[in-house]
């Protein structure tokens, strides 16, 4: 209890308090915290930069986590389960590596891949001089994030598929069901809970991701300034700590709402 209090509750409450002050660290009028009530929250809601960041974050979460990671993770798990055990562990290990390597290191790998002048991707595609990070910044960080996080979904779906009773597959095969019918009638009913769990965890994880900052620094012109990056800029680059604290709390509230929706769905399924 004491540990939770020191490391979790106290910082959270401290953030809550700072979010109600106009405290600045650097920049104009760096000063002691003064109580300003909900000003930071009203400022955030009317700030076009914040709205931009929220829209970008929703798109980022939807395309990289809910669509990209889940589908690719499932496809990999589905393919791997048909492989010989030895080959299967090789595939799983390779995919896992992407997840084990620290995101910051992966970010630098992607910088090298996507570099305009000497990037591997331009060399492979023959698209000489294409500035991927400037022309397709959002797509670039979405692909990076899918690559970085797919392993998690794959592992989760691998164990989900292993829990489907083999007799049901057998029955489907006897009935002459194709792959699609098997997925729809056998697999899906069995792994609904896993799908929800996967979606919940990767949604929360992607919401809070910061590593894309290392690739694009929020640019060009704020086109990849997802929430984590935006809050970093406001709090630690512009030095508006009070505003940053308020934004962090808004982010936590969004996370809580997302989590409670998913948990409710899970509960309904169980009952």
């Amino acid at each position: 209890m004491l540990v939770i209090a020191i490391f979790l509750l106290f910082p959270a409450i401290w953030t809550l308090y700072l979010g109600l002050t106009n405290w600045r660290l650097t920049g104009l009028a760096a000063r002691e915290p003064e109580f300003v009530g909900l000003e930071n929250y009203t400022d955030a809601l009317t700030d076009p930069d914040f709205r931009n960041s929220l829209v970008l974050t929703l798109a980022f979460v939807f395309f990289s986590a809910i669509v990209g990671q889940s589908i690719l993770g499932f496809a990999l798990a589905w393919t791997a389960r048909k492989l010989r055990p030895a080959l299967r562990s090789v595939v799983e290990t390779v995919v896992l590596l992407a997840w084990i390597i620290p995101a910051s290191v992966v970010a630098f790998l992607w910088l090298a891949l996507l570099d305009r002048r000497e990037g591997t991707l331009n060399a492979l595609l023959g698209t000489d001089g294409t500035a991927w990070l400037l022309e397709y910044p959002m797509q670039s960080i979405i692909v990076f994030n899918i690559w970085n996080g797919t392993a998690f979904s794959m592992l989760l779906f691998s164990s989900a598929l292993a829990s489907v009773p083999p007799s049901q597959f057998e029955t489907a095969r006897m009935a002459g069901a194709g792959t699609f019918a098997t997925l729809r009638d056998v697999v899906l009913p069995n792994i609904r809970g896993h799908i929800l769990t996967n979606t919940l965890l990767i949604t929360l994880w992607t919401f809070n991701v910061f590593a894309p900052y290392l690739i694009t620094a929020g640019g060009p012109q704020g086109r990849t300034e997802i929430l984590g990056v935006y809050i970093y800029r406001v709090a630690l680059r512009d030095g508006a700590l009070g505003q940053g604290a308020a934004l962090s709390l808004i982010m936590i509230i969004i996370n809580l709402v997302v989590a409670s929706v998913y948990l409710r769905l899970l509960r309904e399924r169980r009952s």
Partner: protein
């Protein structure tokens, strides 16, 4: 539900505690400046030097000097006086904005090193925030008595001065020039000893370089990712070339003719003629990339400070070393828009900045910290440092002999510093700087200069508010 109410009670308790702590924790105004004589006779002393340098990384030679010379020499000197000093060195190797945030947090919370390096341009902002206090408040009369002040020119001292009070000792100064690649110039039929006398002549050279395959003729920093480099290495030297300064006679410069001329020049460099690479100015690592391109013979001209010569293309430990630097890299003064159009009617202009060191107002050992400051700024200390890499020191007595072996740095000291200008040491300046960076970014991506100037003007009006006036 019962769990929830219990949690709610706990949370309320913590909130009350947090608010009480908040009320107590902020009595410390981050820099009240204690008693200058505190612990003056201590025989056991611990001091920490904080600097944005790290052995093997950023500004490595500076970090090596602190580690291998300052600390052992100072410790030995103090030991002779019967004082047991432990000097710790807190290294950093991060970009300047992150370093600024870090030390601001340190100072704000009453912590941090005893001696801290800062960029001179932060002096006003930190002083207004109460993070730093005048040296005499921290260390008392001993500061006035230091004989080193006589060796540091007034203009150089300004870098660490705010409201006529010295907050720190400058570590050095610099000057900006156009660096160019002599090999590429020869290939383009341009003279090996090139000195443009107007902006048009820069563009003419760029036009000639444009004929070379795989070469970007000219890079002038623009845009926000480059941060202060855009303002110092791009906008302000050009503005000085129009005869204007960003702040003069207690007035900020708005959308004046000079500002518009500078933005038009940016438009020429990055517009249809494409002498520069506008994409490079948008890339997060653009400045470092431009260094690599120059070192690789793919960039003809670059406006930079002597830092570029000392720490970037230096064959000995630079971050983009050029083995043949001394033969290939040429330098020229930055011309005014046309002869005589520069500040004070000058033909050539430059901008200078400077870094320096301050004493943390929260230090427990103000006298000993001041002694370490004096020691780090003594002629012997600079000579030890110059053995590694020559640089322009703030001290006339050291510069007289130290720069003799380096033609580039002698050029800065003799030709550039006499015609240079400085940024205003005001708390508002860093914000104005960002507004200028945004204006250059707009022009580099195709916005007409007049529109970008107007947008800058309205941004400036928001920043200045009722606290000052704007000339347009």
């Amino acid at each position: 539900m019962r769990l929830n109410s219990r949690l709610g009670g706990t949370a309320a308790g913590f909130l009350a505690t947090a608010l009480v702590l908040a009320a107590c924790g902020n009595d410390d105004d981050g820099g009240s400046g204690g008693d200058p004589e505190q612990n003056a006779d201590a025989t056991e002393v611990t001091l920490t030097i904080t600097d944005n340098s790290i052995v093997g990384g950023k500004n490595s030679e500076g970090a090596e000097w602190i580690t291998n010379w300052v600390i052992p020499e100072f410790t030995a000197m103090q030991a002779e006086q019967g004082v047991d000093v432990t000097v710790e060195f807190e290294e950093n190797g991060v970009d300047d904005e992150d370093y600024k945030t870090k030390i601001a947090l340190d100072l704000q919370s009453g912590g941090g090193g005893d001696i801290i390096s800062i960029d001179g341009i932060w002096t006003g902002e930190f002083a207004e925030a109460g993070y730093i206090t005048p040296l005499t408040d921290v260390a008392g009369d001993a500061v006035e008595e230091w004989d080193g002040w006589d060796q540091i020119p007034e203009a150089v001292q300004q870098a660490m001065t705010f409201d006529d009070e010295a907050y720190g000792i400058p570590v050095g100064t610099d000057g900006r020039v156009i660096f160019y690649n002599r090999d590429l110039f020869a290939q383009a039929g341009l003279p090996a000893d090139w000195q443009p006398t107007s902006w048009d002549e820069i563009l003419q050279a760029a036009e000639a370089l444009k004929q070379l395959e795989g070469v970007t003729p000219l890079q002038i920093n623009a845009g926000v990712p480059m941060g202060e480099a855009t303002t110092m290495q791009g906008f302000l030297p050009l503005l000085a070339g129009t005869g204007e300064e960003i702040w003069a006679d207690d007035t900020w410069t708005g959308a004046t003719d000079g500002v518009e001329q500078v933005l038009e020049f940016y438009g020429q460099v990055y517009g249809e003629d494409a002498y520069g690479d506008p994409l490079l100015q948008q890339e997060a690592q653009g400045r470092d990339t431009s260094f690599q391109l120059f070192a690789g013979g793919q960039l003809g001209m670059l406006i930079e400070s002597d830092y570029f010569w000392r720490s970037v293309v230096n064959p000995d430990g630079g971050i983009a070393p050029m083995a043949n630097r001394d033969e290939v890299v040429g330098w020229a003064k930055i011309p005014a828009r046309e002869p005589g159009a520069g500040l004070n009617g000058q033909d050539f202009v430059s901008m200078s900045g400077g870094t320096g060191r301050v004493i943390n107002p929260n230090t427990e050992f103000p006298q000993q910290a001041w002694e370490l400051m004096m020691f780090m700024n003594s002629p012997e200390a600079f000579e030890a440092q110059l053995a590694g890499v020559p640089r322009i020191t703030p001290r006339d007595d050291v510069n007289a002999t130290a720069l003799a072996g380096d033609p580039m740095l002698s050029f800065i000291a003799e030709e550039v510093l006499p015609i240079t200008a400085y940024r205003p040491a005001l708390a508002l300046y860093p914000e104005v700087s960002v507004a200028l960076q945004e204006a250059t970014a707009a022009v580099a991506s195709g916005t007409p200069a007049a529109d970008a100037a107007a947008a800058y003007q309205s941004e400036l009006e928001d920043l200045v508010g009722d606290d000052g006036s704007i000339a347009d």
